[in-house]
Structure formats: C-alpha cells, structure tokens
C-alpha cells in the first residue's frame, strides 16, 4: 500500500497570463482513494490550476503524472480520457434536456441516439445503487433542485469513467442538508477507490471531509498538510500569511426605535411568478437583522424593492414615513433621500460601474448631491480627494482613486462600495452577500465595519447565503424560503441544524428523516471536535 503511485502528481506547474504569474512552480501529490482539499483566497490560482488539469489551459512549465504515467492534457477530451472528471461551480447542463440526455451529451455511442440512451440508463441505475446518486433519469433539468442538478454533474463524470473527480466550490448553492448528502456521496466514492479533489474556500468543509489539504497563496502552494493534523486557524493563517480572527468580536445589541417597518410585501416578477409572497418584519436602530436562506427564495427581490430597483405591493415605512413602492418616488434616489443606503448583492452588475475610475464610483448614486456640484459642472477634483480619503480609511488596495474599478480585486471593489454606502451615515443599510468572492483578510474588515455601523445606531438588513456569516453578525435571524419568512430566531438560541431545516422549508420536528441526516453529520462533527480537543 505504501508504494502505490499517486493518482495525480503535478511537478513544477507554472502558468503566466501576460504579467500575472497565476501558478508558480506548483507540486502536489494526491493518493488514490483520498479526498484532497485545495483552499486559497480569490486570485490564489486554484481555478487556473484546475483548468490546466482539465485541459482548458496549457501550463508554461511542469509535468502532470496520472497514476505514475506522464500525461499530456491539451484539451478536455484528453482529460476525460485520462480519467479526470470536473464538476463546475456553474453547472454545464442543458436545462430543457432530461438527465439522460445531459449525461450522454458529448459521449454518445455513434450516430443513433436510442442505443446511447439505453446504455446510459443502465449505467445510471448501477451508479445510483453504488453511490447513492439517486436521480430520475427522465426528469428535465429545469425541474430539478440544485442539489439534484449537482448529482447529474457528478454522474456525467462517472459515466465517462472518471477515477479522479474535481469539484469546484460545490456547496455554494446547497442547503446544509443537501451539503451533508453530497459529503455522503463523496465518502462513498472515496471508499470505492475514487480520488477526489475539492476546491473550496470554506474552512469548515475542509476540516470535515478532506484527508489532506493544500493551501495556495498568490499562485504558490504554501503548504500541504494532513487535515487531521491542522486547524481552521492554522489554515487561515497559511492562506493569508498572518493570523486571522475567525470569530467576530461583537458587543450585544441595544436596539432602539423601529426604523424600517415592512408589512405584507409582495413582489411578482415580469414572468408573473410570485417572488415575495407577503413578508412582514421590523428593524430597529442599532440592530442587525440577518436574512438567511438559499439563494433564490425571495431575498434578492426583498433587497431590490427596499433599494428602489423593483416594484412591489404592501406597506413600507421608514422612520415613520411611508415609502412609495411604485410610481414616481420609488426609485433608488428616493430611497437614498429616505436614508437608506444599499450595498447590492452583485457589485459588478449593480454596485459599481466597472469602467468608471474608483473616484467616479465613490459618488455613484450620490452624484446629484449639491456638495459635489459647482454650477452646471461637477467638482471632480473634490471628489477625487474624497475618494482618496475613503480608500485610505477602508484600506482599499491600491489606494489610487484614478484606477478603474475593473483593476481592483473583488475584496477591494467591495470595500469601495461599502466605504461609499457606510460613510453616508444611513439610517438603514441594506447589504447583500457582503463577502462573496472576498479574500479572508478583507472579510474580517468588512464584518467589523458592519458591526461598527450598527453600534453607531444604524439599522442593518443583512442578506447572505453563508450561514456562518449570518450567525456571526446578526442580532436576529429571519429565514426565508419560497418568498416567505419561515421563522425569526435569536442566534444565541438556535443552531445550524434548525436554521438549515427552515431554509429547506421544513418546520421539522425530531424524528423526521431530515433531522436524522443532520444528526448523523453533527455526530461526525462532534466526534471530530472531540478528537481535536483531545489533541489540544
């Protein structure tokens, strides 16, 4: 067993894109029948490395060995032939095809479809039995839940005889229960001798499911360790290069008067689908209300209506005054006048104009403010100064207001948006996915700034798909599912298990299948933590 060749070995892989060295001299060995995690900040080079493995890019230098044999991977077909299968973060599925049709797409056996489909059906059945990858072969992709769609992606890889599975950020779109099921599947695959590489930024997942983990930073592999011998703190430090505070330091909240009151808010999209089906809640001064839920359950529509981007019906009052939900005064400018600031979920599509310089973005949404005008012209020089100040206060790197927004990393872009919205001293801050695609160092900073705003007396509505973030920051948590609020909880008196069930639309009670599944996961986690505590 000790002299087995690694399933995958990379030696000295380097890849540059123009002046950017995306991968520098990367060497990894992954043994067969193990789950290997690759963790790193955005821009660390993980995606580039996997793209090289899957044939999308060709490395400038270095070699790839599959099961001990040197292998060239000039395109994805070569990768598939080498037994590598990749499950992408953004699924590559044809929505109006069935599961079987998607599985055979590109791997058909000859010109006629019927024999291919028959063969695929048989294969799917045996794969389902072997690995618990249950999916209805004749279901249309667009009718499947995200968790089931992901199973189809895994089946595609297995159908093509993959021995090595690479999964890129697989749990971003799953509820905790679905993520648990995925890990059971990965467990089964590992036990059957498959090799799995898991790319993720979630430290908890690395600790839970992987056997070994590599940390990437700025294009280099900074460490490869056995998961059992490390800790989230150590991994975070390896990722960033300094000690990182993983807990949020937070004083208890002292909520004051009600700032925002929402009653029976309903939103129907332009296809006639009800996105918000009667949502009601209050937020008080000095309080953070966190909205938890898997993406697509109405949270985005909630933010859009409150931000003045979408129309809806119902009653909204801000500081006692009614807020128009349609017609003239229902746009983003009216909301800003009412004291609402908005950090949108999609900073590149909404929060920033990517082609504008940082200084132009610093007044985006507030460009009509008289303090930036001098007669018919805008006071560009004064705005540049303001931008310089904001960028320094929020540690935006590089602190150059004349650079266009496109040239900043995701975390720094987010900091520009936050600086702009927070320094408006709003009565209510709407903030959606504040740390999506943001490096772990900036995450710390952003969380601190949100808490600081709350301590200064603002009300904050926080929407995030990261349950950890919701639990760390919120003073109260409302869980949304299918356009409604399933329940409101105090973070100190709830846990991931309960929230996970609410997120899945289940107001469960002990004894449910769902409860059992989550229990099993918690048992594993508790056993693992006990082991750690024993070692410490």
């Amino acid at each position: 067993m000790t002299d087995q060749a690694p399933a995958i070995e990379l030696k000295g892989i380097s890849k540059a894109f123009g002046p950017v060295q995306a991968n520098k001299d990367i060497s990894i060995r992954v043994m067969p029948g193990t789950i290997h995690g690759i963790i790193g900040e955005n821009g660390a080079g993980k995606s580039t490395l996997m793209s090289i493995l899957y044939g999308f890019y060709k490395a400038d230098k270095g070699e790839i060995f599959i099961s001990g044999r040197k292998t060239e991977i000039p395109d994805s077909q070569a990768a598939i032939n080498a037994g590598i299968g990749m499950v992408f973060q953004h699924f590559k599925l044809v929505e109006n095809f069935t599961v079987v049709e998607n599985v055979i797409l590109g791997a058909e056996d000859g010109a006629m479809l019927r024999p291919s489909i028959a063969k695929a059906r048989k294969s799917l059945k045996s794969l389902a039995e072997e690995y618990e990858l249950n999916v209805d072969p004749d279901a249309l992709i667009e009718h499947l839940s995200v968790g089931h769609q992901q199973r189809v992606e895994i089946l595609k890889a297995l159908y093509r005889q993959a021995d090595i599975l690479i999964l890129d950020e697989p749990t971003g779109v799953l509820t905790p229960a679905e993520a648990d099921h995925l890990f059971r599947i990965l467990d089964n695959l590992r036990n059957e001798g498959k090799t799995i590489i898991l790319i993720t930024h979630k430290l908890r997942e690395i600790m839970e499911i992987t056997d070994t983990v590599s940390v990437m930073r700025r294009g280099e592999m900074t460490a490869t360790v056995k998961t059992a011998e490390t800790s989230p703190e150590q991994l975070a430090e390896l990722m960033v290069g300094r000690k990182v505070l993983l807990r949020v330091d937070k004083k208890p909240a002292t909520p004051g008067d009600v700032v925002l009151s929402v009653e029976n808010l309903k939103v129907t999209d332009d296809k006639g689908v009800d996105r918000l089906r009667g949502v009601s809640f209050d937020i008080r001064k000095g309080e953070i209300l966190g909205i938890a839920g898997v993406a697509g359950n109405g949270q985005s529509e909630l933010m859009e209506v409150l931000g003045g981007i979408a129309h809806g019906t119902g009653t909204i009052t801000m500081n006692g005054r009614p807020v128009a939900l349609s017609g003239r005064d229902s746009d983003g400018q009216a909301r800003r006048r009412a004291g609402i600031a908005h950090v949108p979920e999609d900073r590149q599509r909404e929060g920033l104009i990517m082609e504008y310089a940082a200084w132009e973005n610093v007044v985006f949404g507030y460009h009509l403010d008289p303090k930036w005008q001098s007669g018919p012209l805008m006071k560009n020089a004064a705005i540049v100064d303001e931008a310089q100040g904001k960028m320094e206060r929020f540690d935006v790197r590089p602190p150059n207001p004349k650079l266009s927004a496109r040239n900043f990393s995701g975390g720094n872009q987010q900091k520009i948006v936050l600086a702009r919205e927070i320094e408006q001293n709003p009565d209510l801050l709407l903030v959606g996915q504040p740390t999506r695609g943001v490096d772990i160092g900036a995450i710390e900073f952003i969380h601190q700034e949100i808490i600081r705003l709350r301590d200064q007396g603002a009300a904050v509505l926080l929407v995030s798909v990261e349950l950890d973030e919701i639990m760390a920051l919120s003073d109260r948590i409302a869980v949304m599912f299918d356009g409604k609020i399933m329940g409101v909880r105090d973070p100190a008196q709830t846990n991931e298990r309960e929230l996970g069930l609410l997120m899945a639309g289940i107001e469960g009670d002990p004894g449910d299948e769902a409860w059992k599944a989550v229990d099993r996961k918690l048992e594993r986690k508790e056993a693992h933590e006990a082991r750690e505590a024993g070692d410490a």
């Binding site: 002046p19 950017v20 983003g332 909404e350 929060g351 104009i353 805008m378």
Partner: protein, 364 residues
Amino acid sequence: MQRMPAWADVVLIPLISLLLAAILSAIVILAIGESPVEAFALMVEGALMRSAGWGYTLYYATNFIFTGLAVAVAFHARMFNIGGEGQAMLGGLGVALVCLYIPWPHWSLALLGSSVGAALFGAAWAFIPAYLQAKRGSHIVITTIMFNFIAAALLNYVLVSLLKPVGAMDPASANFPPATHLPTFQDMFATAENPLFRGAPANVTFFIALAACLFVWLLIWRTRLGYEIRAQGFSESAARYAGISPARIIIISMLISGALAGMMGVNTAQGEAERLVLNSTEGAGFIGIAVALMGRNHPLGVLLAAILFGFLYQGGAELALWTNIPRELIVVIQALVILFTGALDNMVRMPLERMFMALNRKGA
C-alpha cells in the same frame, strides 16, 4: 495593469490603421493603372496646400463635426443613432424657416436664431425614435434609419409644395435674405494683398462646431447629466441601482444628439447654399458614424477624424477633376479608412499589445 501606454492606444493604433488603409488604397489605385504617389500628392495639394483647399476641407469638416458629435453623444448612452442624416435634413428645414420668415437685422442674430431652429428641429426628429425606444423598447437603429427615409420624403414635399417660390424650377426654397449671409473665411480673412480662401464655402459655422466640441466634452465628462449618460451606457443594471432613469437618459441623450446633427443645417443651408435644397446633407449623416467611431466618441477625436474625412472629400474631388480616377474610388478609400479604424481595430491592437508586453517583460 496597463497593457500598453495610453499614447499608443489613442495615437499609434489609429495611425497604423490609417497606414494600412492607405497601403490598400495604393494597391487599388495601382490596379486601375494610376500612380498612387501622384494621386496622394494631388489630394494633399488640392486639400491642404492652398487656402482655398483648406476652405473646402474645413467646410466639409464642419458638417462631419456636427454629425460625428451627434453619434458620439448617443454612443455614450450606448445608443446607435444612425438617423443623423434625417435629423440634419430637418435641421436644415428649421434654418430655412427661421431665415425666410423672420426679418433679421444682422447675421449674428440670424445665426443665433437659425442655430436654435436647427437644434430644435433636429432634436424633434430624434424624439419619436427615442420615445419609442425608451417606452416600448423599439430598437433605435431601426427607427432612426427609417426616419431618414421619412425625412427625405418630408423635405421633398415641403420643398416642392410649400417652400418653392412660384415659377421656379428646382425643388429648393427661395434664397435667404442677404442679412442672413454668414461671413465666409474669405470674408473674414482675405485682404487685397492676400486673397485667401477664394470661393471656398468654409464659414463662421466652423467656429460654432469647435464650440460644440467643447460643449460636448464638458457635458459628457464634467456634468451630472454626462455622468448619468455614461453610467447608463456602461451598465443599465447599475444605473437602475443608482436611481438613474433609463427612459429619461435615452430620451435626453437622443434629443442632444438630434440637436447636434440638426446644427449641420446651419453650415449647409445658411453658410453655403443660402437656401434650402434637396439632399443638402449628401450622406454627411453617415460619415458622422465613421467619424465618431474613428474618434473613439471623444470630441477631440471627432474633430481630427472630421478634418481627415474633409481632406478625403476635397482631395477626392480634386482627384476626380484632374485624373482618370473615378469618384467612386474615393468612396472605396473612405470605406477602407472606416474599415480599418472602426472595425479592424483589434487587428492592429492585439499584436501591438503583445509587443508592448514583451518589451515590458524584457525591461522589468
């Protein structure tokens, strides 16, 4: 990180594109048996070497500046206004009505009045397509080009049935009263000893065009409206987030665009012909598109590109006069210029980028 220095992006690429267009044109000229060097020399001599030549070059350039600015302004809102031709025609009508039916005491007042008339009529012609795009999503490209045809028909009707003096033969309006005569460059700069700009149509409107360049620059890059126009052009979703109304921006930018195109009418109707004739625009509306593309939608670029096209027009006229090279070839040369500087930009840009990056790496 910058892929290549700014000067290369703004100056080197258009220059190389022009060079490529010139080389291809030379090949075409050779192919019909003429000498490209002689042809080029003739163009330069006829357009740039005599003051009268400049007089024609700058006259054409004035037209192209207005139509080029019109397209550029609309482009900043991500709208492809190809209705400059029709908007310019309507502008000319506005000029004619103002000059013929208001008794102006002095040309400067007449100029003020006709500018307002031209801008209003041009803007009005752009309003319906703008409204349809803003409120109904009707594509501006289709509506504006259709409105070009409608404008031509409308002008035809107006000139033949309404404005043509009784007893006249050509479909044109009456001559404008002499008080509305705009000083030409000859009027302004020629002296007894130095008879400059003899007979050339360049007139005081050229300076209005320069002022229009300054106005557009201030508008787009220094005002709130310009900020909102550019924002909407770059990202409508972000503009909506910021409370910028897409409909309002579409309509306002098209009105400004139509007004600029309409201003061309002052140059042609009042500055040169001193009456309104059929087809006074002669395709300048479409050249405006090329000028805006080549000038990268920036007023300075538009100015330079407009002068270049003025040179091509006047030089082309000289070629047609003095050689066997047909007028159509000038159109081919203009097309090559547009092709290389507008559409084939990347063909020059990518190798240049690679060259600069290689130089960077060697130096670093």
